[in-house]
């Protein structure tokens, strides 16, 4: 059986993880394909139907301007998921690069890189995120447009604070792998250091990176929602899930559904991703007997 087949066999043992994978697939399909099936525009204002609960015309109800919450959530879900995946991609690239550099070069380079990693781990993330957004929102808006600018900035700042765990894991993996016989054999055959790293060490260090990356998607989605919930993420006309919650929190007494649907969506997505991460950890850790 191939290593990936074996991993899949182990993954299937974790019932909640398999279930969560299904939930996640359904959520992704809904936000990607949903807007093709549900044609109500996200900004169609209808004052005859404000803060209504779920009905046939508006399955998720409406907000205080009578805008359809289902189509707003489908739109916002695309952004939330895109932010999560893009920020994870950035965190993994930065983390793997720094971890690999630190792991392959001993001595001062390793020490310096680890000092930077520890420094980033002890930075207060949310205050700094807020500070960065406060200072850099306007210029980025000018370069990338209102939506693109905020997207780029949020992905950059969230990615900037997510790579440390990956870097530490990769470094630890490098420390044990570079002493292994197969690496020695590759070196004896005359492989250069970049080739040893790329072909021999990195593929074997992939397991923990995949797990950390999965958890990172969840963390990035929470971070984006938190910023939007504080009113400092995406602009008001872009209804991300966090933004919907922010808008709903002054109408809790008359329109609870308005908060429950986006909040539930964030919770469901993050929990599903965390369970999948748990399952992957079981599947990719060779020391664990299943």
């Amino acid at each position: 059986m191939s290593p990936w087949g074996e991993a899949w066999r182990r993954f299937r043992r974790h019932r909640m993880a398999v279930l969560s994978l299904g939930v996640l697939a359904a959520l992704v399909a809904a936000v990607v394909l949903g807007p093709f099936a549900w044609h109500v525009p996200i900004d169609a204002i209808d004052f005859s139907a404000t803060t209504q609960g779920p009905s046939a015309a508006h399955p998720f109800g409406t907000d205080d301007l009578g805008q359809d919450l289902l189509s707003r959530m489908l739109y916002g879900g695309r952004i939330s998921l895109a932010v999560g995946i893009a920020a994870m991609g950035m965190a993994v690239v930065v983390g793997v690069t720094i971890g690999a550099l630190a792991g392959i070069s001993r001595g001062p380079v390793d020490a310096a890189l680890m000092w930077v990693t520890d420094l980033f781990l002890s930075l207060p993330q949310l205050p700094l995120l807020l500070l960065l957004i406060y200072l850099f929102r306007e210029p980025l808006k000018a370069v990338f447009g209102p939506e693109g600018g905020v997207f780029v900035m949020i992905v950059l700042v969230i990615g900037c604070f997510g790579w440390m765990q990956v870097a530490r894991l990769v470094r630890a993996q490098f420390f044990s792998l570079r002493e292994k016989e197969f690496v020695e054999a590759a070196r004896a055959l005359g492989a250069t250091t970049p080739r040893v790293v790329w072909r021999h060490i990195l593929p074997n260090a992939l397991g923990p990176v995949i797990v950390a990356g999965t958890i990172n998607v969840a963390a990035a989605i929470i971070a984006e929602s938190t910023l939007s919930f504080l009113g400092l993420g995406f602009p008001p006309d872009i209804p991300t899930w966090g933004r919907l919650l922010f808008d709903s929190k002054d109408h809790l007494d008359i329109a609870a559904h308005w908060a429950l649907f986006p909040g539930g969506a964030i919770f469901l997505t993050v929990m599903a991703i965390n369970f999948v991460g748990d399952g992957l950890r079981d599947a990719l850790d060779p020391r664990r007997v299943l």
């Binding site: 949310l126 205050p127 938190t226 400092l232 809790l252 909040g263 919770f267």
Partner: protein, 319 residues
């Protein structure tokens, strides 16, 4: 032990300097010139503007400007709030105790949940209790604080009308009634933050205890005939707490993030809500001050964790 404490204190200095460099870089890279308004004001001659810039040190080399800024921060000279016209330090000091009380009590709640639940889960791994506790812990850890806060308000303030959802510093009562009212309005924020932390910690405690329970010294303790309770508390838990302390210290930035959100939801007058208000009103000195205070608090808690670490594991202290 004294040498250990001193060494740890000395190690905190470079991280504090590192953080101050990060903060200053962000500030220096930020677009916007404080003298942009003067440049467009035709009443101010250009040479006055140039002179003003020079006298305030804005044309100095970056390294010199950093040292000036650092010296001012260390002296406690953090400037005036643009909005409320009082010293930033006074403004922040008024609010720090509230935030610390919120974080402290929620951490206690988190510990009270995580220690027993995590230990019981690990002592009988894959039992029913463990499965249910682990699933709930993962779910709780996935529930963002802002959503839990809204859910609690919906249930306990709006549907049941048991608890107030806006925190008020000036309660209209005295004596016991006031104390009761303060506790009542603190319940929901503390629970929101405590449950979130507790769920995360339960997972740490469980895996740490699982690692220790298999070790030989535990088997020895059992074979000596010690009661299970003594084995778990004395021989397992103390050793398991060592990695947990590290992980908890690593979580401190997240805890402060959660505190900011919680303060914002329940309108608690702490430094978190001060930060959000300052950002919404472009009050730069306050923003810088609060961010700096948060950084110092994170370093401080890391230091406390390091000291606890030495206390739990004597091998580290005497090395």
């Amino acid at each position: 032990m004294g040498v250990f404490v001193l060494r740890r204190l000395a190690l905190a200095v470079p991280s504090l300097l590192g953080i101050s460099i990060v903060l200053f870089t962000v500030l220096a890279l930020a677009p916007g010139d404080p003298f942009a308004e003067l440049a467009t004001n035709s009443n101010v001659p250009p040479e006055v503007r140039v002179h003003l810039r020079a006298s305030l040190g804005l044309d100095d080399p970056v390294a010199l400007r950093y040292l000036h800024w650092l010296a001012a921060m260390l002296r406690g000279d953090w400037g005036f709030s643009f909005i409320s016209r009082i010293d930033v330090t006074t403004l922040i000091w008024q609010r720090v105790p509230v935030t610390l009380a919120l974080i402290g009590s929620s951490q206690l709640l988190a510990l009270a949940i995580a220690l027993p639940v995590g230990t019981l889960s690990a002592v009988r791994p894959y039992s029913w209790f463990d499965r249910i506790a682990s699933t709930i812990a993962l779910a709780g850890f996935s529930l963002p604080t802002f959503f839990t806060g809204i859910l609690l308000i919906l249930v306990f303030s709006i549907k049941l009308d048991w608890l107030p959802f806006v925190y008020r510093a000036d309660v209209e009562a005295t004596g016991w009634a006031a104390a009761v009212e303060h506790v009542r309005q603190a319940i929901m924020p503390v629970v929101v933050l405590g449950l979130f932390q507790g769920a995360g910690w339960t997972r740490y405690v469980r895996s740490a205890v699982l690692d220790v329970v298999r070790l030989d010294h535990v088997t020895t303790a059992r074979s000596k005939g010690l009661a299970e309770r003594v084995v778990i508390t004395r021989h397992v838990l103390r050793n398991a707490l060592i990695p947990v302390v590290t992980l908890v210290a690593l979580q401190m930035p997240t805890v402060f993030g959660g505190a900011i959100v919680t303060e914002q939801i329940f309108r608690i007058p702490g430094i978190g809500s001060l930060l959000i208000d300052a950002i919404l009103r472009n009050d730069t000195p306050v923003i810088m001050g609060v961010t700096f205070v948060f950084s110092v608090l994170v370093i401080l808690f890391n230091l406390v964790a390091d000291l606890l670490y030495g206390l739990l594991d004597p091998r580290i202290a005497y090395r």
